[in-house]
């Protein structure tokens, strides 16, 4: 005897936040990438504590570009917040404008990260300290780069005929991931730029 007890035909085909599967997918990726960052930092600290060379090797890093990078990154959380809100309201016009803003901010950040690298006083091959600085900065740089690329593609999409419905959910998801990019930078910034100065 087959008996239909629930009718789902009235349910929506997309939603926002933790109701949809991509949000959980993104969260899972944040978890595993966050683990990667945490282990990277742990490795850095392990060497800092156990290695006798470290105090000699750990030269102070230039604070100018990194400070700019950090400020722009943290401030970008605001348009990011607005995007999420606009996306959930499905307001195409604001989403378009804000995505343009975020794309621009993203490109600026990529430029700042390049400057950060060029201002490093130590090369990756000089010593283990240098290797770690490059690794951690690079690892985070890759995250910035991927999300900026994703934002650019999404921006283009939103200006085409695809800019409807489920795309808003994608925009919201993209904004969610950006929070992770911002948050994961803060401990890295503290460890890389300030810890050796203590």
């Amino acid at each position: 005897m087959v008996r239909s007890v629930i009718d789902v035909s009235g349910l929506p085909t997309y939603a926002f936040g933790s109701r949809v599967t991509p949000w959980w997918g993104t969260l899972s990726f944040c978890l595993l990438e966050g683990t990667g960052f945490a282990l990277g930092i742990a490795g850095y600290l392990y060497l800092a504590v156990t290695n006798t060379h470290w105090t000699k090797d750990a030269v102070h890093l230039n604070l100018v570009w990194s400070a700019l990078f950090t400020i722009v990154l943290v401030v970008s959380a605001l348009p990011n917040f607005l995007i999420r809100r606009a996306a959930m309201r499905e307001s195409l016009r604001s989403v378009r404008v804000l995505l343009l803003v975020m794309s621009a901010v993203g490109l600026v950040l990529v430029g700042l990260r390049v400057m950060e690298f060029s201002a490093l006083p130590v090369r990756w091959s000089d010593n283990a300290y240098g290797s770690f600085v490059w690794l951690l900065l690079g690892l985070h740089g890759v995250h910035v780069l991927t999300d900026v690329a994703d934002t650019l593609v999404l921006t283009v999409l939103m200006f085409t005929r695809h800019g409807t419905g489920k795309r808003f959910s994608d925009a919201e998801d993209n904004a969610f991931y950006w929070y992770f990019v911002v948050l994961s930078w803060l401990p890295l910034y503290a460890v890389l730029y300030w810890l050796p100065r203590l």
Binding site: M1, V2, G165
Partner: protein
Amino acid sequence: MSPAAEERHETRDTDLGGEELRARLSKTWGTGRGLIGALSTVDHKIIGIRYAMTAFAFLLAGGIMAIIMRLQLARPDSHLVDAELYNQLFTMHGTTMMFLFGVPVGEAFAVYLVPLMVGTRNIAFPRLNAFSYYVYLFGGLMLWGGFALSIRPDVGWFSYVPLASLDFTPGKGPDYWAQMITFTEVAALAVSVEIVVTVLKQRAPGMTLDRIPLFVWTMLVHSFIIIFAMPAVMLASSMLIMDRLVGTQFFNADAGGDLLLWQHLFWFFGHPEVYIIFLPGTAFVSAIVATFSRRPIFGYLPMVLSLIAIGFLSFGLWVHHMFVTGLPEVGAAFFTASSMAIAIPNGVQIFCWIATLWDGKPVLKTPLIFVLGFFFIFVAGGLSGVMLASVPIDTQVHDTYFVVAHFHYVLIGGTLFPLVAAVYYWFPKVTGRLMDERVGKWQFALAFIGFNTAFFPMHLLGLHGMPRRVYTYPAEMGWGGLNLLASAGALLFFASFLLMLWNMVVSARSGAFAGDNPWDAETLEWAASSPPQPQNFDRIPYITSRSPLWDQGDDKAVVGGLKVDERELVVTSITEARPDIREESPAPSIWPFLAAFATAVAFIGSIYTPWAITWGSPVVAIVLVAWFWPKTIEENV
């Protein structure tokens, strides 16, 4: 859009029934024809089968390596293979077994079974799933292709530095090894994310948290362990390859690096890895014990809690692989205690299974017989593990054949025996035909005797001072007799697998027809046809019990209202599994395959020049954009 199309798109499963519904759905969810169709498929069942067959092929390859090693060790001072080849053999054997067989085979079963068991039509992120399979395949082919071309890693499956550094191992072997790690871990991580989301968000309506089958719980915990463990080895292997290729100094003690850092990172992954390989085995055991005792597993809650406990504890044990590196005494003692502690949740599981058998009246079919073999062997391996947890004892048996015996007891007893059981158990679901019982029992006899003959003597060899990873030993050591015995056992054990392969081939063509539920089991995969339709279920079941097929009887409560001509599935809430969204599940696409190919080219190229990453990344990016670019606009209607 034309009115006809409009109408077609609005057909719901409530409007149709019987054969017509089935045919329409299987057209919607089907896989295209031809090579392009095959490479574009996103059907979790097809990909699961590919995963499993690839993993079995690697098992066979790794097994052949093992047999050659055992032939070499059968006699003292043997010259069948030389030191160089022997070192390559155990490295390939260990690496293949751990990364190309152990982890993927668990995923294969998860990918195939979890969507069926939770009552959904496809895995979450099916294109990512296809991508992960190809990445895994390319990683394995790269390692073995390199082996054929004499680019052979030979520093063991954990590639300790500085032996694995450029100074001591100049060839490309360790680079291939390290890149293979990246490939397989990317694949494993992707699958884990899919499983987590499938279990959390795609369960059939009504399948509340406490109605999730134990098999699925186990795979959920398994996936979380992967998510937290695998980044460590990816980080470590990337650091190693950077040390080798671009001159970083992570593991160079002379330039402020640290050798133990490698060991810490590797074993932070490496111990959970053991549970990553072992947990799918326990998932099979839970399913099989319940079915053949005709009882739900005793102590559902303790079982779930011990799974979660194992998940957490498995991250607190890694240092027990480093007891002989000369760690501070207190630190080492802590890890003794934590390693002892994990025996408790394992004990709880063993108890619950035996209690279930006790309460029922077990039907001794081949799957259950192999599970009994699992108890015999795995419990012994677990208990010898308790010995290794003790720092002082470990200083004697670490890196000896005692340890080789121990981990084969755990890995083969804990994973391979349940795996064979699982093959016999789910074969009828996958092919529609039963495997031969008589051959199955012969296979068990061969495997059980062969295994114990091969590996029990290794405990003694280790205690008599035989270190692992030695390509030969002098006759005066007196190890010849036990080694000969071990080698004979290994041959028997290997033969048992050939018997299984034969049984599979013959049964797939001429085995008895199975019907949907040949074992009268309790979980949802047995409600689908054998083999299942592309859409898994014609109607999404509505769940009111932990053992739906036993308790819900003929009253088939279902969920109605999904579109028939689109790939729609029900997304539910996390705890209550209330239906929430009709989400579109991605259609077949060739891009995941192309993306995996581009990634593989970039990774392999990077072994020869770092610029491969620079040039490869934009290509991969373009392919990814093509992958995600929406193809239609109707999907939003």
